[in-house]
């Protein structure tokens, strides 16, 4: 991808997307003709039971997987038209990804786990570390924890680091795949509060995948998936009125 100015829109457009795994009678359809538009600055929750295709949809939006049919436009770019390297650069610059299982590098300290993507964007280590410190402060991780490795931290702290890593390159789109799935309810709430704050304060577009209605309610809009199809969509009330998860 060329080093050009920001694309005209940082939203997401999913048009008639389908995804099948395998061939012939053994084929499994994960997504069937899904269309969705997510505007810039939106906080959208994608909800559904296990196997409904929500993680597949998120992977397609992130360009981690390719659709069997239809197209995905992210930040104004049709992902199918981009090379693998261009998709990588799009993710590095404009998309942050938060995993359910954190996926932090066990041999890196918290600070290193956050800073390393910047090194691939050409920042010096000093600059990367300074930015990582800022982001870690922003996500609420205190100083002592920053020099520790993931195994020495709690689940909540690990997920904060994972969010910090996703934010460190100042993305415009944050994709979160069950970010509270491995956390207790209280910690989960604090993480969701953090995401909501990022959306509200910084205008970050967030797509949250969850199977929990309570978590989904943190978004402005919930898209419900079942068996690979969108079966419902609703606008959420403000989070201050939400029940506890």
């Amino acid at each position: 991808m060329s080093d050009r100015p920001m694309p005209p829109t940082n939203g997401v457009v999913v048009e008639h997307v389908s995804k099948r795994y395998g061939d012939g009678p053994q084929a499994v359809t994960a997504l069937a003709d899904v269309s969705l538009r997510i505007n810039a600055g939106a906080f959208v929750s994608i909800m559904g039971p296990s196997g409904s295709g929500k993680s597949t949809l998120l992977n397609l939006i992130a360009g981690l997987d390719t659709p069997s049919g239809g197209r995905v436009i992210v930040c104004g770019e049709d992902l199918a038209a981009l090379s693998d390297d261009a998709r990588s650069l799009l993710r590095l610059r404009h998309i942050g990804f938060v995993f359910q299982s954190f996926n932090l590098f066990p041999t890196f300290t918290a600070e290193e786990n956050v800073a390393w993507p910047l090194e691939f964007l050409g920042s010096s280590w000093r600059e990367a570390r300074a930015r990582a410190d800022t982001v870690l402060t922003h996500v609420g991780l205190n100083g002592a924890a920053r020099g520790r490795r993931p195994a020495e931290l709690s689940g909540g702290e690990q997920q904060r680091i994972a969010i910090a890593r996703a934010l460190v390159a100042r993305p415009t789109l944050l994709l979160a795949d069950e970010p509270t799935g491995n956390l207790d309810s209280k910690t989960g709430e604090s993480i969701l509060d953090l995401l909501r704050g990022l959306n509200a304060d910084e205008g970050l577009t967030i797509v949250l995948v969850t199977h929990s209605a309570a978590a989904a309610a943190y978004g402005h809009r919930t898209v419900e998936l079942r068996d690979g199809c969108i079966v419902g969509e609703q606008m959420e009330p403000r989070a201050s009125t939400l029940p506890a998860m």
């Binding site: 981690l64 693998d84 990588s88 590095l92 995993f99 066990p106 041999t107 993507p117 090194e119 691939f120």
Partner: protein, 855 residues
Amino acid sequence: MRLFDFRLPLRFLRGHYGRLALTVIAVACGVAQVSGNDLVSHAALTAFVNVIDTVAGRASLQVSSGEGASFSEEVSRVVAAIPGVALVVPVISATAFTTDESGDLLAVQGFDVTDKRAVEVYELQNDEASGFDDPKLLQPGAIVLTHAFADARKLKIGDAIDFDTPRGRQRFTIRGLLEPHGVARMSQGNLIIMDRDGAEDAFGSRGLINRLDLVVDREQDPNDVARAIATVLPPGLRVEAPAQRKADLYKVMRAFGALLSAFDLIGVGAAFLIAFNGLSTLFEARAWQIGVLRAIGVTPRAVWRELLKESLLIGVTGTALGIPAGIGFALIFVGPITKAAALNSKVATPDTVVTLHISSLILAAVVGLLAASLGAALPAWRASRGEIVDTLRVRGAEQEGIGTRGRWWFRGLGATTTAVAIAMEVATHSVAWGLVATALLVVGASLTARPLLDALHTPLLHACRWLGGPIGRFTGMHLTRNPRRTALTIAMLGVGLGCVLWLWMLAQSFEQSVIEVLTQSMRSDLVVSSSHIESGFLEAPVDESLLTDLAAIPGVGRVVGDRVSDWHHGGGPIAIDAFDAVYFSDPSFGQWPLVGTRLPDVWKTVARGDAVIVSSNFVLNLHAQVGDVVTLETPSGPLAVRVGGVITHFTSPRGTVMMSRELYERFWRDPKVTRAFLQTTAGADIAAVRADIGRRLGRKYGLRILSCPEIVGYFASQVRLAFAGLRVLAGLVLLLVMVGISDTLAAGVIERTREIGSLRVVGVPRALVQRMVLLESCAFGALGMVLAMALGLALGTLWVEATFPYLLGWVVELHLPYGYALEITLATLAACLGAAYLPSRRAAALQPAEALRYE
């Protein structure tokens, strides 16, 4: 990310130091082997060349007739008349041995010490007190020794000293001491300088010399002068430059260098396999991390580059450790390898000094870095190219490699190129093709590991069930769940142990061939020879008066003399083995087993001097056949004689001619014998006769008296000496194999932590979990040994039948080392159990609840 920024790879390597240690050790071993062998080659070659340089002094040409055979002093006058010859120094060259326990060999140089120009040729400096003008130097028995030799024995001028000579023990008087200059530096100062007349009396015959050292005018081309000299020399004499002898030595050392290169190939191959296996396992275990890198937006190329940087760090560490280890290796093995080269060329073993050669170190560093980088390239490529979603979802699963069709295509290509390389070696007798074929067979064995696993999968599962009960099923499942890693481990085992078996087969074939031939050819009651070894493994010659002295001893029946000497034929060295005629007609002394066709009544024809027998390597190297007429240049003129038969002989790597000693003595005018074979009279006590010979003649001739089995044992021990490093090599390979298996098992245990937790939760006891890992290790060992046997057999056959004869000249029969194969199988089993100990303990010690939570 900057190209030379190693922060990220270092962070990734942080938590894996233990696991990476094996890969680093493997690379270090490969580097050590390459640098060590190269340093040894340099040191040995330098030592041999120094000997030639110091012996020759400033002489630019030498005239001689092979191994010390004498010729008339008159030749010097003829040679001196050739234009361009500035100086001719007639020399008596001989050897003497100290009579103390050390039995040290001293080179004797006898020349006209009153000729100042001759003294200058050898750059000799007598000490100030006497100088070479001392008339006492011309007295019979007067010698000049080096300060080094005299000081070590607290000898001074005027002292008498005994030496064993071909004429028996003689007493000499020290008349001068040499400073360590010129020829006096040779062999740590083991040198005797004598006036030529005295040397002729003590070591030869009056008027006969055995070498001319020539100085050529500076403005003349030594080659032109040599050609002119060759035209006037009597038959049997030849002129050569020390440079030619150096070239011959370079040839021998090149052959040894090629042998060492073969070891290098194996070492680097094994290092590569271990690095490949280690890095594949590491990268696969970390595939999810690579998936995270990709998911965050790092391009596959950048991921690949970062992974290669990791391997580069491993390569640098391995090289940094391997180079000092290589220097250590060179210091330890320079002696045995030089000894083996000296045994092969039948020359005295020179003193060697290992000096650092930057080229050796650079070569080793390049090899180490390449092995690590290439070992990482494919796993890194696989890891960086995998589907992001898959790598994130599935942890610990083997990544997809090339397809089945691609694998078989690759194997087919390997088999074809191997066959072509072997065919080319047989057709061209080129050792280079032999090395290519060796490398391809090693690669082929590595590629066979996977089909071997596939083929033996079912019987392996049954065996695991049978040996391990229900837990055996899990062992079998794991072996086939990660087939690439299992195959790589089997390949590592197969290549390492296969190469040990190959070398052992070579050693066994050589040793057994020597034993088989000598037990048939040496059947006398006793074998008497000098107790001193003159060159390589050959005993020093003694005067043939020994035969009559032996015959006069009560209880001694018939005596047969045997003279073994070096000669030249067809542009290179050969050996002459001459037995008294009675040996050929009386089978009770033994008879050499003939190979292939022979002339009728061959032994009688040889006894009469009408035919000779040649060795199989003579046939191979000099292309003579039974019935052909071979013309040997002798001191008495050309000797044209028919080839009556072919035997296997181990005196010269280029070829040996066996003839009657009567014929030899007539043409070579050499009245010495190397050995005397004797039969005792009926009823005589052999031990008593042996003791009597020792009492009566032992001191006079400096004798060694052995039975035939003992002398056969002596020669077998010389062969074993040449292959002495094999057990060290086998030990090193077993150690590497142990670490390699241990690493693979440890990786498997870590990967299956949750699975083991589940087993424990269900109620499987710790002992069974431990047994599961032990069984897995034994399965690796069993499959590895199958591959090792096949590779060892293939390489052994290739080397015994083709590469070894073309490389060093020896032709030997193929012998399989059954006993050793059993020994190494048991050692491998023990190594496998040892390797499994820690991983199995770790598996058994896992707490079920923790194991289930393991990510």
